[in-house]
């Protein structure tokens, strides 16, 4: 099942203090790959996967590098010619959501060279990602990755002893 998540507080402009928190990808549980202007993220334990688009995809490599949120927000607001306070607020909500999904975790240090990557100019439309949980059935204890005509088979009862 797909669930779309979007953080776009265009109408809630607030004065926000510089946010110096840093985050890191929750590896090795979480893996991510940028492709074609999107980022695909897979949680290997939960089986949930995500695709990040637009500004969220642009933010991903900076988040992964442990760049402070304030610097990420500044870079994105400049690239998108958007209100810095709005971007800061949206980014905080977006990152909180990633943290709640165990995709990122707080860290004290940068995890990669801290230079900001070049960001292609774009129209700001908030931070959006899609969450998919249709593959969770693969992650049963004994992966019976066979489907019958009507979907996943029921998980059989395990034997009483592994031998």
């Amino acid at each position: 099942m797909r669930k779309a998540v979007r953080y776009n507080s265009m109408l809630q402009k607030e004065s926000t203090a510089v946010d110096n928190r840093r985050f890191a990808i929750n590896s090795p549980t979480v893996i991510g790959e940028a492709i074609d202007g999107e980022v695909m993220v897979i949680n290997l334990v939960s089986g949930i996967y995500y695709n990040l688009t637009g500004t969220a995809a642009a933010a991903w490599p900076m988040l992964a590098a442990g760049i402070p949120l304030g610097a990420i927000a500044a870079a994105l607001s400049q690239a998108c010619n958007a209100d810095a306070a709005v971007v800061t607020c949206d980014l905080a909500g977006f990152v909180a959501s990633l943290e709640a999904e165990d995709i990122v975790r707080a860290t004290a240090y940068a995890t990669a060279p801290a230079a900001l990557p070049a960001i292609a100019p774009a129209t700001y439309a908030g931070f959006a990602f899609n969450r998919y949980d249709d593959m969770r059935a693969l992650l049963v204890v004994d992966p019976v990755h066979e489907v019958g005509d009507f979907g996943w088979p029921p998980k059989p009862d395990p034997p009483s002893t592994p031998r």
Partner: protein, 356 residues
């Protein structure tokens, strides 16, 4: 991934037990070429281990004297009389409640499937591996269809490749990777292409190497279809092995029906995402690499513990490198095969449209 000091110790104990078995038990060694590389399979000869090798029969290379880069011991625990030592790896003490819970320690990889009763072990440092089945006679049919797939995934990922949950077929050495989740039409498309004269590399699991262009290699000569589509495959009825087993997907070995169309690597030229659409004519539409990766990666990554990151990168490379298409399938298998046959000629122009 589970990597703890205790796990490392327990993994070493398991490896030691398997090494002892290899010294003490009678074995029969067979040689194969898997993904073009020399592999030795050492099967316990007192049990039914050799019965599990039917799916890789076309890869046999009995006269290959090249030193094997992978030595895999295959045991029938019951028939060969091999009992595994007590181990937290087998009890899955540290495994997550969800998730496959493979164990890693230094160069060792291990994954235990309690229901199938299958232990996969690989030491990437020396290329020695074990696939132990609790009882071959009771092994699930899907393990016969794709034996020791976790060992092969770790092994190929260690060489920059990946085992993908995909089909692959080709013409004149030029391959098409057919991606998509179970039930999306991969097997039916692959069998339609075999019937039309294509070479066969996979209907479910395929090995992709690290070359450019990437090559698809046969991992298993198995083809499985959903029971509701059997009428479409009635001409292969005599080759299906398990029609009497209502809870199993009907399965055949492609080398039984088309041995000449198996075994050669295929240089991949396109990735196709089939969609069962019941159209009068198959419609091919370019799609973006990100959409293809969403179709290709989740099941390929999540099916295999301990190889996700490397395999994911290889899949992303494939989607960037190759033109990607959605195929809305016709009901007529000849039309499906003709569409994929024509894909190579049209792929350049279609790919250009995809980039627009």
């Amino acid at each position: 991934m589970i990597e703890t000091a205790r796990a490392r110790g327990e993994l070493r104990d398991l490896v030691a037990a398997m090494e002892l078995a290899a010294q003490e038990r009678p074995i029969i060694t067979r040689r194969y070429r898997i993904a073009g590389m020399p592999v030795a399979l050492h099967c316990g000869s007192a049990g039914g281990a050799q019965e599990m090798l039917r799916a890789i029969e076309p890869l046999a290379a009995p006269y290959d004297a090249t030193p094997a880069v992978l030595s895999l011991y295959v045991w029938d625990g019951r028939g060969d009389g091999i009992v595994l030592p007590e181990s937290s790896v087998l009890r899955r003490d540290d495994a997550p409640e969800e998730g496959l819970g493979g164990y890693a320690g230094d160069t060792l990889r291990a994954f235990y499937q309690p229901v199938a009763g299958a232990l996969s072990l690989l030491d990437t440092a020396n290329g020695r591996a074990t696939w132990w089945l609790r009882d071959v006679a009771a092994a699930p049919y899907y393990e016969r269809a794709a034996p020791f797939k976790h060992v092969l995934q770790w092994w190929i990922a260690d060489r920059g490749g990946a085992m993908l949950h995909s089909a692959a077929v080709g013409i004149d050495g030029s391959g098409r990777l057919i991606a998509g989740p179970s039930g999306s039409g991969k097997s039916s498309t692959a069998l339609a292409c075999v019937d039309a004269g294509f070479a066969f590399a996979s209907d479910d699991y395929v090995l992709i190497d690290a070359t450019h262009p990437p090559h698809a290699h046969l991992a298993y000569a198995t083809a499985k279809v959903v029971r509701s589509s059997l009428a479409r495959h009635a001409h292969h009825k005599s080759h299906f092995r398990n029609l009497a087993m209502d809870d199993e997907k009907p399965m055949l070995f492609v080398h039984d029906l088309a041995p000449e169309r198996i075994g050669s690597p295929l240089a991949l030229r396109a990735i196709v995402l089939p969609v069962v659409a019941h159209r009068a004519a198959t419609l091919l539409t370019p799609i973006h690499p990100a959409e293809m990766l969403r179709a290709l990666a989740p099941s390929s990554v999540l099916l295999f513990p301990l190889a996700g990151d490397a395999a994911f990168r290889r899949m992303a490379d494939l989607c960037r490198e190759l033109p990607c298409f959605r195929a809305e399938l016709a009901d007529d298998p000849d039309d499906v095969a003709a569409a994929l046959r024509g894909l190579l000629a049209d792929s350049s122009s279609l790919a250009a449209r995809a980039a627009e």
